[in-house]
């Protein structure tokens, strides 16, 4: 049982990092970023590219890849999302779908479809880490949980106390009022995209180091999308319990039920939530109409 709990925490941490990306973009701009899973894949491949092509040392490769992921978020906003201002939200969502397809194609074209392992190239190892109660997790399992905790703490502090974070919240909550107060919306939206790409990229790098890297990792984004909706699309805090619930049901269905249910369990959770509380665990009821 303790092993199932540990695995749940690891999977939940991964989903939470991805789910945060959905929420950040949605809260700021009301756009559902359906390319979040591809931003995860991109992050993993950026680490692979930096390590393999440039041959950077791990201490340099990881921050550089994270920086590039964040930059990709900025660029995506300015190149693709900004021109969509004034158009229906629906069109902007379609742009994110197209972006995902293009990113996948570009990754296959550049890196081919082979399974990669950036961990080996970084010269790192991922040994098992025994925990009390006979539970064993990998080093990168622990790193994933720790990273999710740090990222969420940092995001909460940033949104609550920093001037830019407060501006982001204001832009998300009362857009008209915020614009009348002179908030630079373009910057706020671009920052939301950059943070989403940062979170996605970070999740991708951790996953690539812990498990593997391949072009089809975008499917993880779909599961995390269910997490974001279960938590409430406009609630960063909602992502945490939602990730734990979705991951918990997934792990338990493998452990005690039919393993094949694990693939659909995030969507069963989503369906149940939509029937009972369509705005999500901690989401705002008013947001429902907009979604």
């Amino acid at each position: 049982m303790t092993q199932a709990l540990a695995t749940t925490l690891v999977v939940a941490s991964l989903y939470a990092l991805l789910g945060a990306g959905y929420v950040l973009v949605y809260r700021a701009s009301r756009v559902l970023n359906l390319a979040q899973g591809d931003l995860l894949t991109l992050g993993g491949y950026l680490l692979f590219a930096v390590t393999g092509t440039i041959g950077a040392a791990p201490a340099l490769a990881v921050p550089l890849a994270l920086g590039l992921s964040t930059l990709a978020g900025f660029l995506i906003y300015h190149a693709l999302m900004r021109p969509m201002a004034g158009h229906p939200i629906f069109a902007a969502v379609l742009v994110t779908v197209t972006l995902g397809i293009l990113l996948r194609a570009a990754i296959v074209l550049i890196f081919t479809d082979r399974i990669r392992h950036p961990l080996t190239m970084l010269g790192w190892r991922n040994p098992p880490f025994p925990l009390p109660g006979g539970t064993v997790v990998s080093t990168f399992d622990l790193a994933t949980v720790a990273t999710a905790v740090v990222v969420f703490a940092a995001l909460f502090l940033f949104l609550r106390f920093s001037p830019i974070g407060i501006q982001m919240r204001a832009a998300g909550e009362r857009a008209l009022l915020a614009s009348q107060r002179g908030i630079n919306f373009q910057f706020i939206f671009a920052l939301a995209w950059a943070l989403a790409a940062f979170c996605g990229g970070l999740a991708g790098m951790l996953y690539a180091c812990n498990i593997r890297l391949e072009p089809s990792l975008d499917v993880l984004g779909l599961k995390a999308f269910a997490v974001a909706l279960v938590g409430g699309l406009d609630s960063l805090a909602g992502v945490i319990p939602a990730a734990l619930i979705v991951a918990g049901i997934e792990v338990l269905s493998i452990r005690y039920g039919n393993p094949l249910l694990s693939d659909v369990s995030p969507f069963l959770c989503l369906l149940a939530m939509l029937l009972v509380r369509p705005w999500g665990l901690l989401g705002t009821k008013e947001e429902l109409d907009r979604v």
């Binding site: 695995t7 080996t120 498990i211 593997r212």
Partner: protein, 391 residues
């Protein structure tokens, strides 16, 4: 007058000579038209795109050397992405102009290709994906398979190997399948066979290909007390479950089918408890054919040379069949030629590929097991080739 007549005759002869020459040129340029449907891109392409690349490189060399029987080989490639709907469209398109279709895609695409083969009476050769039962005796007249792995025989070999390694000790065995029909059916067969062979058996654990983390699946096998785990699935699941078992500190032995990635992964993981069995000799054996492939594909493929073995053997079979077919080569003639193919695999496999009217898999199949040998600090074979007669 005589001079004019001889000039006229000379002109006629020259003109007819030129005409005959031009006819010969047209005929020589007429190609053998082959169609190939493969998962060149998409989620499953990792296992099949190398076959497509091997074919391209192989027949470039054949055509550069003048083709077969004086005719080039023209292969039309269709990317089915491993999706049945696309496969149906690809099969239809390929059947229009080809004398033979080659499939290098996942088993989910087999049905549309086989339906097309039956409807249009066009031979279909599987060269990269698992061999369907129609290739085994009694074989369907139009279905052939050059792929090194084949259902049921792989399990028979693997379980015998585990028994041999256990050397009389009681073994508890687990199975890791992917949620695709062939993988599940094969390992359910293996589970049954293992019971009959006296193994203590853990029921098959089925893993979705899209699993975010293989740990819960691995945990199930570890908690059940598996000494050995056998996986026969696409590479991602095979190796994913093994690595998850490693991460949670499992110390048993793991055996999987060695797909193209085997060499890279055995060297990366350096795990002496990971065994990979297969029908192709690994390039670590440095055979002359391996050197030849490495030289020929240099700069032409996106995958390393050792990913080419499966496709290379298939291309060799096709070349042999086309040579035997002669010119003109029709669908009926190529099917007849394939049914009598005997191919020296030059060491890529443990022995020749021999097909008969009744057996389109091979009369004898060969297996070899590899693993990481810490003493040699290299990949090493665990014994030699094991021969199984297919009846």
């Amino acid at each position: 007058m005589r001079r004019r007549v001889s000039l006229t005759w000379g002109g006629v002869l020259l003109a007819s000579g030129l005409y005959a020459g031009s006819l010969a040129t047209v005929e020589a340029a007429d190609p053998y038209r082959i169609g190939m449907g493969a998962a060149i891109t998409g989620r499953f392409s990792g296992g099949y795109a190398p076959t497509y690349e091997a074919y391209k490189a192989y027949f470039k060399r054949v055509n550069d050397a003048g083709g077969i029987n004086g005719h080039p080989v023209e292969i039309t490639y269709e990317d089915d992405r491993g999706e049945p709907q696309r496969a149906a469209a690809a099969a239809k398109k390929l059947a229009e102009n080809s004398i033979l279709i080659i499939n290098a895609s996942i088993s989910a695409t087999y049905k549309p290709y086989m339906t097309e083969s039956e409807t249009d009476k066009i031979p279909l050769m599987f060269g990269g994906g698992v061999c369907p039962r129609e290739a085994f005796p009694p074989a369907s007249p139009l279905i052939f398979c050059s792929t090194s792995f084949g259902s049921k025989w792989d399990s028979r070999f693997t379980l015998s190997f585990i028994k041999e390694q256990a050397a009389g000790k009681k073994v508890k065995i687990g199975f890791a399948a992917q949620d695709i029909p062939l993988s599940r059916i094969e390992l359910e067969f293996a589970e049954q066979l293992a019971k009959e062979m006296g193994f203590e058996v853990i029921p098959v654990v089925v893993v979705p290909g899209t699993a975010a983390d293989f740990t819960p699946f691995a945990q199930k096998l570890k908690d059940a007390g598996a000494d050995w785990v056998f996986s026969w699935a696409p590479w991602g699941v095979e190796i994913g479950v093994f690595e998850a078992l490693q991460r949670i500190g499992w110390k048993g032995n793991y055996i999987l089918y060695g797909h193209q990635q085997t060499e890279d992964e055995l060297a990366r993981l350096r795990a002496p408890n990971l065994y990979a069995f297969g029908g192709n000799a690994l390039f670590t054996e440095n055979l002359p054919i391996h050197a030849e492939i490495t030289r020929l594909v240099k700069g032409q493929t996106t995958h390393p040379p050792h990913y080419m073995a499966e496709g290379w053997v298939s291309a060799m079979v096709l070349e042999a069949a086309l040579k035997q077919c002669g010119w003109p080569c029709t669908r009926e003639k190529i099917a007849a030629a394939l049914a009598t193919v005997t191919l020296d695999t030059k060491g890529l496999r443990g022995g020749p590929i021999e097909w008969t009217a009744d057996n389109h898999y091979r009369k004898t199949t060969y297996y070899k097991v590899y693993r990481w040998d810490p003493a040699k600090n290299a990949i090493a074979a665990v014994g030699g080739w094991t021969k199984l007669d297919i009846k």
